[in-house]
Protein backbone atom coordinates (compact mmCIF):
# COMPACT_ATOMS: atom_id res chain seq x y z
CA UNK A 1 0.00 0.00 0.00
CA UNK A 2 1.32 3.47 -0.88
CA UNK A 3 3.16 5.17 1.97
CA UNK A 4 2.67 2.27 4.39
CA UNK A 5 5.71 0.54 5.96
CA UNK A 6 6.55 -2.72 4.20
CA UNK A 7 5.46 -5.76 6.16
CA UNK A 8 9.09 -6.75 6.64
CA UNK A 9 10.00 -3.38 8.15
CA UNK A 10 8.18 -2.56 11.36
CA UNK A 11 10.29 -3.73 14.29
CA UNK A 12 12.86 -0.94 14.37
CA UNK A 13 11.58 2.38 15.77
CA UNK A 14 14.42 4.27 14.07
CA UNK A 15 12.77 4.07 10.65
CA UNK A 16 11.16 1.88 8.04
CA UNK A 17 10.96 1.10 4.36
CA UNK A 18 7.90 1.97 2.28
CA UNK A 19 6.92 2.42 -1.33
CA UNK A 20 5.25 5.33 -3.06
CA UNK A 21 4.13 5.00 -6.66
CA UNK A 22 6.28 1.93 -7.03
CA UNK A 23 9.47 3.61 -5.76
CA UNK A 24 11.18 2.24 -2.66
CA UNK A 25 12.02 4.71 0.14
CA UNK A 26 13.47 4.49 3.63
CA UNK A 27 12.22 6.89 6.28
CA UNK A 28 14.58 7.93 9.07
CA UNK A 29 12.58 8.85 12.17
CA UNK A 30 13.42 11.86 14.35
CA UNK A 31 14.30 9.56 17.26
CA UNK A 32 17.27 8.31 15.19
CA UNK A 33 18.22 11.60 13.50
CA UNK A 34 21.37 12.29 15.56
CA UNK A 35 22.71 8.77 15.05
CA UNK A 36 21.97 8.84 11.32
CA UNK A 37 23.72 12.19 10.90
CA UNK A 38 26.72 11.02 12.92
CA UNK A 39 27.11 7.89 10.79
CA UNK A 40 26.71 9.92 7.59
CA UNK A 41 29.35 12.41 8.79
CA UNK A 42 31.75 9.57 9.63
CA UNK A 43 32.04 8.74 5.92
CA UNK A 44 31.18 5.07 6.55
CA UNK A 45 28.13 5.07 4.25
CA UNK A 46 30.12 6.50 1.35
CA UNK A 47 32.98 4.07 1.89
CA UNK A 48 30.72 1.01 2.06
CA UNK A 49 28.42 2.06 -0.77
CA UNK A 50 31.45 2.87 -2.93
CA UNK A 51 32.66 -0.70 -2.51
CA UNK A 52 29.15 -2.19 -3.03
CA UNK A 53 29.15 -3.57 0.51
CA UNK A 54 26.12 -1.45 1.40
CA UNK A 55 23.23 -0.65 -0.88
CA UNK A 56 23.67 2.96 -2.04
CA UNK A 57 20.98 5.52 -1.22
CA UNK A 58 20.28 9.14 -2.06
CA UNK A 59 18.48 11.63 0.15
CA UNK A 60 15.16 12.85 -1.29
CA UNK A 61 12.61 15.46 -0.27
CA UNK A 62 11.01 15.21 3.16
CA UNK A 63 7.68 15.77 1.37
CA UNK A 64 7.84 12.11 0.38
CA UNK A 65 7.81 10.99 4.04
CA UNK A 66 5.27 8.36 5.06
CA UNK A 67 4.58 9.88 8.49
CA UNK A 68 5.09 12.99 10.62
CA UNK A 69 7.97 11.39 12.58
CA UNK A 70 10.32 11.66 9.60
CA UNK A 71 13.67 13.43 9.89
CA UNK A 72 14.90 12.29 6.48
CA UNK A 73 13.81 10.21 3.54
CA UNK A 74 16.22 8.14 1.48
CA UNK A 75 15.80 6.39 -1.82
CA UNK A 76 17.88 3.21 -1.72
CA UNK A 77 18.87 1.35 -4.85
CA UNK A 78 16.40 -1.46 -5.30
CA UNK A 79 17.54 -5.09 -5.10
CA UNK A 80 15.87 -6.87 -8.03
CA UNK A 81 14.92 -10.08 -6.20
CA UNK A 82 14.59 -10.43 -2.44
CA UNK A 83 15.86 -13.78 -1.13
CA UNK A 84 15.93 -15.16 2.38
CA UNK A 85 18.63 -16.95 4.40
CA UNK A 86 16.72 -20.25 4.30
CA UNK A 87 17.01 -20.10 0.50
CA UNK A 88 20.78 -19.60 0.48
CA UNK A 89 23.46 -22.20 -0.05
CA UNK A 90 26.18 -22.75 2.53
CA UNK A 91 28.57 -20.43 0.69
CA UNK A 92 25.97 -17.68 0.41
CA UNK A 93 25.23 -17.78 4.16
CA UNK A 94 28.97 -17.85 4.90
CA UNK A 95 29.66 -14.87 2.64
CA UNK A 96 26.75 -12.98 4.22
CA UNK A 97 28.25 -13.71 7.67
CA UNK A 98 31.69 -12.52 6.62
CA UNK A 99 30.19 -9.34 5.15
CA UNK A 100 28.39 -8.61 8.43
CA UNK A 101 31.64 -9.06 10.38
CA UNK A 102 33.56 -6.89 7.91
CA UNK A 103 31.02 -4.12 8.38
CA UNK A 104 31.12 -4.42 12.17
CA UNK A 105 34.92 -4.24 12.13
CA UNK A 106 34.92 -1.14 9.93
CA UNK A 107 32.23 0.43 12.10
CA UNK A 108 34.20 -0.26 15.32
CA UNK A 109 37.31 1.36 13.88
CA UNK A 110 35.26 4.55 13.37
CA UNK A 111 33.69 4.46 16.85
CA UNK A 112 30.45 3.06 15.46
CA UNK A 113 28.74 -0.30 15.80
CA UNK A 114 26.10 -2.48 14.16
CA UNK A 115 22.90 -2.35 16.21
CA UNK A 116 21.72 -5.64 14.79
CA UNK A 117 23.24 -8.53 12.89
CA UNK A 118 20.23 -10.11 11.24
CA UNK A 119 20.88 -12.29 8.20
CA UNK A 120 17.84 -10.56 6.65
CA UNK A 121 19.94 -7.39 6.43
CA UNK A 122 21.92 -9.01 3.63
CA UNK A 123 20.74 -9.56 0.07
CA UNK A 124 22.46 -10.94 -3.01
CA UNK A 125 22.98 -8.83 -6.06
CA UNK A 126 24.12 -11.60 -8.39
CA UNK A 127 27.01 -13.27 -6.62
CA UNK A 128 27.75 -10.31 -4.41
CA UNK A 129 26.32 -10.09 -0.88
CA UNK A 130 25.25 -6.55 -0.07
CA UNK A 131 24.04 -5.06 3.21
CA UNK A 132 20.67 -3.35 2.86
CA UNK A 133 19.85 -1.91 6.28
CA UNK A 134 21.30 1.60 6.27
CA UNK A 135 19.94 2.30 9.74
CA UNK A 136 21.76 -0.61 11.37
CA UNK A 137 24.75 1.60 12.22
CA UNK A 138 24.96 3.88 15.25
CA UNK A 139 27.61 5.49 17.46
CA UNK A 140 29.11 3.07 19.94
CA UNK A 141 28.77 4.06 23.57
CA UNK A 142 32.09 3.91 25.41
CA UNK A 143 32.47 0.51 27.11
CA UNK A 144 29.31 -0.96 25.58
CA UNK A 145 29.41 -4.61 24.50
CA UNK A 146 28.14 -5.68 21.05
CA UNK A 147 24.40 -5.84 21.46
CA UNK A 148 23.99 -7.95 18.32
CA UNK A 149 26.55 -10.62 19.29
CA UNK A 150 23.92 -13.25 20.18
CA UNK A 151 21.92 -12.40 17.06
CA UNK A 152 24.98 -12.86 14.86
CA UNK A 153 25.70 -16.27 16.40
CA UNK A 154 22.10 -17.45 16.01
CA UNK A 155 21.58 -16.10 12.49
CA UNK A 156 24.93 -17.15 11.06
CA UNK A 157 27.41 -19.10 13.17
CA UNK A 158 25.09 -21.78 14.55
CA UNK A 159 23.41 -22.65 11.22
CA UNK A 160 26.77 -22.62 9.40
CA UNK A 161 28.31 -24.89 12.05
CA UNK A 162 25.38 -27.29 11.83
CA UNK A 163 25.52 -27.36 8.02
CA UNK A 164 29.28 -27.84 7.99
CA UNK A 165 29.79 -30.18 10.93
CA UNK A 166 26.52 -32.16 11.18
CA UNK A 167 24.41 -32.17 8.01
CA UNK A 168 23.96 -29.64 5.21
CA UNK A 169 20.17 -30.09 5.40
CA UNK A 170 20.12 -28.47 8.84
CA UNK A 171 20.25 -25.13 7.02
CA UNK A 172 16.49 -25.56 6.70
CA UNK A 173 16.22 -24.83 10.44
CA UNK A 174 16.39 -21.17 9.41
CA UNK A 175 12.96 -21.55 7.85
CA UNK A 176 11.39 -22.55 11.16
CA UNK A 177 13.57 -20.26 13.30
CA UNK A 178 13.23 -16.90 11.59
CA UNK A 179 15.21 -15.14 14.31
CA UNK A 180 18.08 -17.58 14.09
CA UNK A 181 18.77 -21.07 15.38
CA UNK A 182 18.83 -20.86 19.20
CA UNK A 183 22.29 -21.27 20.71
CA UNK A 184 21.12 -23.96 23.08
CA UNK A 185 19.64 -26.00 20.20
CA UNK A 186 22.80 -25.48 18.17
CA UNK A 187 25.01 -26.62 21.06
CA UNK A 188 22.85 -29.71 21.58
CA UNK A 189 22.85 -30.68 17.90
CA UNK A 190 26.58 -30.06 17.55
CA UNK A 191 27.28 -32.23 20.60
CA UNK A 192 30.96 -33.12 21.00
CA UNK A 193 31.83 -31.53 17.64
CA UNK A 194 31.86 -28.09 19.24
CA UNK A 195 34.86 -29.16 21.37
CA UNK A 196 37.01 -29.54 18.25
CA UNK A 197 36.97 -25.83 17.43
CA UNK A 198 37.92 -23.12 19.89
CA UNK A 199 35.57 -20.72 18.08
CA UNK A 200 32.56 -23.02 18.29
CA UNK A 201 33.44 -23.91 21.87
CA UNK A 202 33.40 -20.26 22.90
CA UNK A 203 30.77 -18.67 20.65
CA UNK A 204 28.29 -21.54 20.70
CA UNK A 205 28.80 -23.90 23.64
CA UNK A 206 29.99 -21.39 26.24
CA UNK A 207 27.58 -18.80 24.87
CA UNK A 208 24.67 -21.23 25.29
CA UNK A 209 25.85 -22.02 28.83
CA UNK A 210 25.99 -18.29 29.64
CA UNK A 211 22.45 -17.91 28.29
CA UNK A 212 21.28 -20.69 30.59
CA UNK A 213 23.08 -19.23 33.60
CA UNK A 214 21.67 -15.73 33.16
CA UNK A 215 18.21 -16.75 31.96
CA UNK A 216 15.49 -14.67 33.62
CA UNK A 217 17.89 -12.50 35.56
CA UNK A 218 19.69 -9.28 34.95
CA UNK A 219 23.47 -9.53 34.71
CA UNK A 220 25.31 -8.78 37.95
CA UNK A 221 27.76 -5.92 38.33
CA UNK A 222 30.62 -8.13 37.15
CA UNK A 223 28.83 -8.81 33.88
CA UNK A 224 28.22 -5.11 33.30
CA UNK A 225 31.87 -4.12 33.34
CA UNK A 226 32.88 -1.98 30.35
CA UNK A 227 34.12 -3.74 27.25
CA UNK A 228 36.77 -1.91 25.25
CA UNK A 229 36.75 -1.43 21.50
CA UNK A 230 39.89 -3.59 21.24
CA UNK A 231 38.05 -6.45 22.92
CA UNK A 232 35.16 -6.10 20.50
CA UNK A 233 37.57 -6.10 17.59
CA UNK A 234 39.07 -9.28 19.07
CA UNK A 235 35.59 -10.77 19.38
CA UNK A 236 34.75 -9.91 15.76
CA UNK A 237 38.06 -11.33 14.53
CA UNK A 238 37.46 -14.46 16.60
CA UNK A 239 34.04 -14.84 15.01
CA UNK A 240 35.59 -14.38 11.58
CA UNK A 241 38.09 -17.12 12.36
CA UNK A 242 35.28 -19.41 13.48
CA UNK A 243 33.24 -18.72 10.31
CA UNK A 244 36.35 -19.04 8.11
CA UNK A 245 37.07 -22.42 9.65
CA UNK A 246 33.69 -23.80 8.59
CA UNK A 247 33.81 -25.45 5.19
CA UNK A 248 31.52 -27.66 3.19
CA UNK A 249 32.34 -29.55 0.05
CA UNK A 250 29.38 -29.88 -2.35
CA UNK A 251 29.41 -33.59 -3.09
CA UNK A 252 27.48 -36.72 -2.33
CA UNK A 253 23.94 -35.33 -2.54
CA UNK A 254 21.33 -36.79 -4.89
CA UNK A 255 21.73 -34.18 -7.61
CA UNK A 256 25.30 -33.01 -7.16
CA UNK A 257 26.60 -34.97 -10.17
CA UNK A 258 23.54 -34.40 -12.36
CA UNK A 259 25.26 -32.14 -14.86
CA UNK A 260 27.67 -34.91 -15.72
CA UNK A 261 25.42 -37.89 -14.83
CA UNK A 262 22.58 -37.45 -17.33
CA UNK A 263 21.57 -38.91 -20.64
CA UNK A 264 22.17 -35.88 -22.86
CA UNK A 265 24.70 -36.08 -25.60
CA UNK A 266 26.85 -33.01 -26.18
CA UNK A 267 24.72 -32.30 -29.26
CA UNK A 268 21.48 -32.48 -27.25
CA UNK A 269 22.86 -30.16 -24.55
CA UNK A 270 24.05 -27.67 -27.13
CA UNK A 271 20.72 -27.85 -28.99
CA UNK A 272 18.90 -27.19 -25.71
CA UNK A 273 21.05 -24.17 -24.90
CA UNK A 274 20.41 -22.67 -28.33
CA UNK A 275 16.69 -23.40 -28.09
CA UNK A 276 16.42 -21.72 -24.68
CA UNK A 277 18.06 -18.48 -25.73
CA UNK A 278 16.37 -18.54 -29.14
CA UNK A 279 12.88 -19.01 -27.70
CA UNK A 280 13.28 -16.22 -25.15
CA UNK A 281 14.89 -13.77 -27.57
CA UNK A 282 12.65 -11.00 -28.86
CA UNK A 283 9.95 -11.49 -26.22
CA UNK A 284 11.06 -8.55 -24.05
CA UNK A 285 11.98 -10.90 -21.20
CA UNK A 286 13.86 -9.19 -18.37
CA UNK A 287 13.50 -11.65 -15.49
CA UNK A 288 13.66 -15.42 -15.81
CA UNK A 289 13.11 -17.98 -13.09
CA UNK A 290 14.88 -21.24 -13.89
CA UNK A 291 12.97 -23.92 -11.99
CA UNK A 292 15.12 -26.97 -11.26
CA UNK A 293 18.23 -25.19 -12.53
CA UNK A 294 20.78 -27.65 -11.10
CA UNK A 295 24.16 -25.92 -11.54
CA UNK A 296 22.74 -23.27 -13.87
CA UNK A 297 23.80 -24.54 -17.30
CA UNK A 298 20.61 -23.29 -18.98
CA UNK A 299 20.23 -20.33 -16.62
CA UNK A 300 23.25 -18.91 -18.38
CA UNK A 301 21.69 -19.53 -21.78
CA UNK A 302 18.68 -17.54 -20.56
CA UNK A 303 20.94 -14.86 -19.07
CA UNK A 304 22.31 -14.26 -22.56
CA UNK A 305 18.95 -12.68 -23.46
CA UNK A 306 17.54 -11.57 -20.08
CA UNK A 307 18.79 -9.11 -17.46
CA UNK A 308 18.34 -11.41 -14.50
CA UNK A 309 17.91 -15.12 -13.88
CA UNK A 310 17.02 -16.64 -10.53
CA UNK A 311 18.20 -20.25 -10.62
CA UNK A 312 16.24 -22.41 -8.19
CA UNK A 313 17.13 -25.94 -7.23
CA UNK A 314 16.34 -28.19 -4.30
CA UNK A 315 19.81 -29.67 -4.04
CA UNK A 316 22.22 -27.83 -1.71
CA UNK A 317 25.27 -29.12 -3.59
CA UNK A 318 23.98 -28.01 -6.99
CA UNK A 319 23.12 -24.54 -5.65
CA UNK A 320 26.50 -24.28 -3.94
CA UNK A 321 28.31 -25.19 -7.17
CA UNK A 322 26.25 -22.70 -9.11
CA UNK A 323 27.01 -19.98 -6.53
CA UNK A 324 30.74 -20.77 -6.56
CA UNK A 325 30.74 -20.46 -10.35
CA UNK A 326 28.93 -17.12 -10.18
CA UNK A 327 31.53 -15.90 -7.64
CA UNK A 328 34.54 -17.32 -9.45
CA UNK A 329 33.56 -15.88 -12.81
CA UNK A 330 32.25 -12.61 -11.40
CA UNK A 331 28.92 -13.18 -13.15
CA UNK A 332 26.17 -10.68 -12.66
CA UNK A 333 22.49 -11.35 -13.15
CA UNK A 334 22.44 -15.00 -12.05
CA UNK A 335 21.18 -15.68 -8.52
CA UNK A 336 21.28 -19.33 -7.40
CA UNK A 337 18.80 -20.22 -4.64
CA UNK A 338 17.62 -23.30 -2.79
CA UNK A 339 13.98 -24.11 -3.42
CA UNK A 340 11.99 -27.31 -3.20
CA UNK A 341 9.28 -26.71 -5.79
CA UNK A 342 7.04 -29.33 -4.19
CA UNK A 343 7.20 -27.30 -0.96
CA UNK A 344 8.21 -23.77 -1.99
CA UNK A 345 8.99 -20.97 0.47
CA UNK A 346 5.70 -19.95 2.08
CA UNK A 347 4.71 -16.55 3.49
CA UNK A 348 6.21 -16.50 6.99
CA UNK A 349 6.57 -14.38 10.09
CA UNK A 350 4.15 -12.05 11.80
CA UNK A 351 0.66 -12.27 10.31
CA UNK A 352 2.16 -14.32 7.42
CA UNK A 353 3.56 -11.09 6.04
CA UNK A 354 7.17 -10.55 7.07
CA UNK A 355 8.70 -12.93 4.56
CA UNK A 356 7.07 -13.35 1.17
CA UNK A 357 6.22 -16.64 -0.44
CA UNK A 358 7.91 -17.47 -3.72
CA UNK A 359 4.70 -16.72 -5.59
CA UNK A 360 4.36 -13.31 -3.91
CA UNK A 361 7.78 -12.36 -5.28
CA UNK A 362 6.64 -13.01 -8.85
CA UNK A 363 5.53 -13.20 -11.47
CA UNK A 364 8.67 -13.51 -13.55
CA UNK A 365 8.59 -12.56 -17.20
CA UNK A 366 9.53 -16.10 -18.12
CA UNK A 367 10.01 -19.52 -16.55
CA UNK A 368 12.36 -22.29 -17.57
CA UNK A 369 11.26 -25.78 -16.56
CA UNK A 370 13.76 -28.08 -18.21
CA UNK A 371 13.93 -31.77 -17.32
CA UNK A 372 11.66 -31.00 -14.41
CA UNK A 373 8.11 -32.01 -15.17
CA UNK A 374 8.71 -35.79 -14.88
CA UNK A 375 10.16 -35.28 -11.39
CA UNK A 376 7.06 -33.36 -10.34
CA UNK A 377 4.52 -35.59 -12.11
CA UNK A 378 6.07 -39.03 -11.61
CA UNK A 379 8.47 -38.48 -8.73
CA UNK A 380 5.97 -36.52 -6.63
CA UNK A 381 2.55 -37.60 -8.00
CA UNK A 382 1.61 -34.04 -8.92
CA UNK A 383 -1.13 -33.94 -11.59
CA UNK A 384 0.03 -32.19 -14.78
CA UNK A 385 -2.92 -29.80 -14.67
CA UNK A 386 -1.96 -28.56 -11.21
CA UNK A 387 1.64 -28.04 -12.29
CA UNK A 388 0.41 -25.98 -15.25
CA UNK A 389 -1.91 -23.88 -13.05
CA UNK A 390 0.90 -23.00 -10.66
CA UNK A 391 3.39 -22.24 -13.40
CA UNK A 392 0.85 -19.87 -14.99
CA UNK A 393 0.79 -17.90 -11.74
CA UNK A 394 4.60 -17.77 -11.53
CA UNK A 395 5.40 -16.50 -15.02
CA UNK A 396 3.86 -15.36 -18.28
CA UNK A 397 6.16 -17.09 -20.76
CA UNK A 398 7.07 -20.72 -20.19
CA UNK A 399 9.83 -22.74 -21.78
CA UNK A 400 9.19 -26.30 -20.68
CA UNK A 401 10.68 -29.65 -21.59
CA UNK A 402 8.54 -32.75 -21.87
CA UNK A 403 10.47 -35.93 -21.12
CA UNK A 404 8.54 -38.96 -22.46
CA UNK A 405 8.19 -42.25 -20.63
CA UNK A 406 10.57 -43.91 -23.09
CA UNK A 407 13.41 -41.66 -21.86
CA UNK A 408 15.97 -43.49 -19.73
CA UNK A 409 15.62 -40.95 -16.89
CA UNK A 410 11.87 -41.63 -16.63
CA UNK A 411 12.49 -45.37 -16.96
CA UNK A 412 14.90 -45.11 -14.04
CA UNK A 413 12.17 -43.45 -11.97
CA UNK A 414 9.62 -46.10 -12.86
CA UNK A 415 11.99 -48.98 -12.13
CA UNK A 416 11.02 -49.22 -8.48
CA UNK A 417 7.35 -48.31 -8.62
CA UNK A 418 4.22 -49.23 -10.57
CA UNK A 419 3.33 -46.99 -13.49
CA UNK A 420 0.17 -45.28 -12.28
CA UNK A 421 0.53 -42.40 -14.72
CA UNK A 422 -1.55 -43.24 -17.82
CA UNK A 423 -1.99 -39.50 -18.58
CA UNK A 424 1.75 -38.91 -18.68
CA UNK A 425 1.95 -38.84 -22.48
CA UNK A 426 2.65 -36.09 -24.98
CA UNK A 427 -1.10 -35.73 -25.61
CA UNK A 428 -1.91 -35.73 -21.88
CA UNK A 429 0.81 -33.16 -21.22
CA UNK A 430 -0.41 -30.84 -23.98
CA UNK A 431 -4.05 -31.14 -22.90
CA UNK A 432 -3.18 -30.39 -19.27
CA UNK A 433 -1.05 -27.35 -20.11
CA UNK A 434 -3.52 -25.99 -22.71
CA UNK A 435 -5.91 -25.27 -19.84
CA UNK A 436 -3.50 -22.63 -18.50
CA UNK A 437 -1.25 -21.78 -21.47
CA UNK A 438 -1.32 -21.18 -25.20
CA UNK A 439 1.20 -23.44 -26.90
CA UNK A 440 3.22 -21.19 -29.22
CA UNK A 441 5.86 -23.61 -30.48
CA UNK A 442 7.22 -27.15 -30.04
CA UNK A 443 10.78 -28.17 -30.85
CA UNK A 444 12.51 -31.55 -30.57
CA UNK A 445 15.75 -31.72 -28.62
CA UNK A 446 18.40 -33.06 -30.98
CA UNK A 447 19.52 -36.60 -30.23
CA UNK A 448 16.59 -37.40 -27.93
CA UNK A 449 12.85 -37.94 -27.86
CA UNK A 450 12.37 -34.93 -25.64
CA UNK A 451 10.37 -31.88 -26.68
CA UNK A 452 10.73 -28.26 -25.70
CA UNK A 453 7.60 -26.11 -25.71
CA UNK A 454 7.22 -22.37 -25.74
CA UNK A 455 3.97 -21.36 -24.05
CA UNK A 456 2.21 -18.15 -23.00
CA UNK A 457 0.00 -18.05 -19.92
CA UNK A 458 -3.68 -17.40 -20.57
CA UNK A 459 -5.28 -14.46 -18.80
CA UNK A 460 -7.32 -15.30 -15.69
CA UNK A 461 -10.71 -15.25 -17.43
CA UNK A 462 -9.39 -17.28 -20.36
CA UNK A 463 -8.31 -20.10 -18.01
CA UNK A 464 -11.89 -20.97 -17.11
CA UNK A 465 -12.98 -20.88 -20.74
CA UNK A 466 -10.17 -23.08 -22.06
Amino acid sequence: MDGQPLDSSFRDPSGFVFTREGVLYRQVNRVFQDEFEAVTASGLYDELAGQRLLVPHRPVSLDLAASGEAAAVLEPERIPFISYPYEWSFGQLRDAALLTLELQERALVRGLTLRDASAYNVQFDGGQPVFIDTLSFERRKEGAPWMAYRQFCEHFLVPLALMSRVDIRLGSLLRTHLDGVPLELGARLLGGRSWRSLGLLFHVRLHAAAQRRYRDRAPGAAALRPVGAETLLGLVRGLRGAVDGLRWSPAGTEWSEYTTDNNYTAAAASSKRELVSGLLRGRGVRTVWDLGANTGEYSRAARAVAERVVAFDLDPAAVERNYRRVRAEGESGVLPLLMDLTNPSPALGWAHRERLSLEQRGPADALLALALVHHLAIGNNLPLGRIAEWFARLGRTLVIEFVPKADSQVQRMLRSRPDIFPCYTREGFEAAFRASFEIDAVHPVAGSERLIYLMTARDGDEIGAA
Binding site: R11, W146, R150, F202, A210, P219, A223, R225, T231
Partner: protein, 51 residues
Protein backbone atom coordinates in the same frame (compact mmCIF):
# COMPACT_ATOMS: atom_id res chain seq x y z
CA UNK B 1 18.78 -0.65 20.94
CA UNK B 2 15.73 -2.55 19.76
CA UNK B 3 16.90 -6.15 20.04
CA UNK B 4 17.45 -8.03 23.29
CA UNK B 5 21.18 -8.70 23.64
CA UNK B 6 20.40 -11.13 26.56
CA UNK B 7 22.29 -11.09 29.83
CA UNK B 8 24.25 -14.23 29.02
CA UNK B 9 25.61 -12.71 25.84
CA UNK B 10 26.70 -9.54 27.64
CA UNK B 11 28.34 -11.58 30.40
CA UNK B 12 30.25 -13.64 27.84
CA UNK B 13 31.67 -10.51 26.24
CA UNK B 14 32.91 -9.35 29.65
CA UNK B 15 34.48 -12.78 30.05
CA UNK B 16 36.05 -12.40 26.61
CA UNK B 17 37.39 -9.00 27.63
CA UNK B 18 38.89 -10.51 30.79
CA UNK B 19 40.39 -13.41 28.83
CA UNK B 20 41.88 -11.10 26.20
CA UNK B 21 43.32 -8.85 28.91
CA UNK B 22 44.85 -11.88 30.62
CA UNK B 23 46.36 -13.07 27.32
CA UNK B 24 47.73 -9.57 26.66
CA UNK B 25 49.14 -9.36 30.18
CA UNK B 26 50.71 -12.83 29.85
CA UNK B 27 52.28 -11.89 26.49
CA UNK B 28 53.67 -8.66 27.92
CA UNK B 29 55.11 -10.52 30.95
CA UNK B 30 56.61 -13.16 28.64
CA UNK B 31 58.22 -10.51 26.46
CA UNK B 32 59.55 -8.66 29.55
CA UNK B 33 61.07 -11.82 31.04
CA UNK B 34 62.57 -12.82 27.67
CA UNK B 35 64.25 -9.45 27.26
CA UNK B 36 65.44 -9.58 30.91
CA UNK B 37 67.15 -12.96 30.39
CA UNK B 38 68.51 -11.84 27.03
CA UNK B 39 70.15 -8.85 28.71
CA UNK B 40 71.59 -11.11 31.46
CA UNK B 41 73.14 -13.43 28.89
CA UNK B 42 74.68 -10.58 26.91
CA UNK B 43 76.09 -9.05 30.14
CA UNK B 44 77.60 -12.46 31.11
CA UNK B 45 79.26 -12.68 27.69
CA UNK B 46 80.85 -9.24 28.23
CA UNK B 47 82.28 -10.30 31.66
CA UNK B 48 83.73 -13.57 30.42
CA UNK B 49 84.96 -12.03 27.22
CA UNK B 50 83.25 -14.79 25.19
CA UNK B 51 82.18 -14.01 21.64
Amino acid sequence: MYIDPTSGSLALQVLAAAALSAVAMFSRAREASKSFFRSLVSRGRRWTGSR
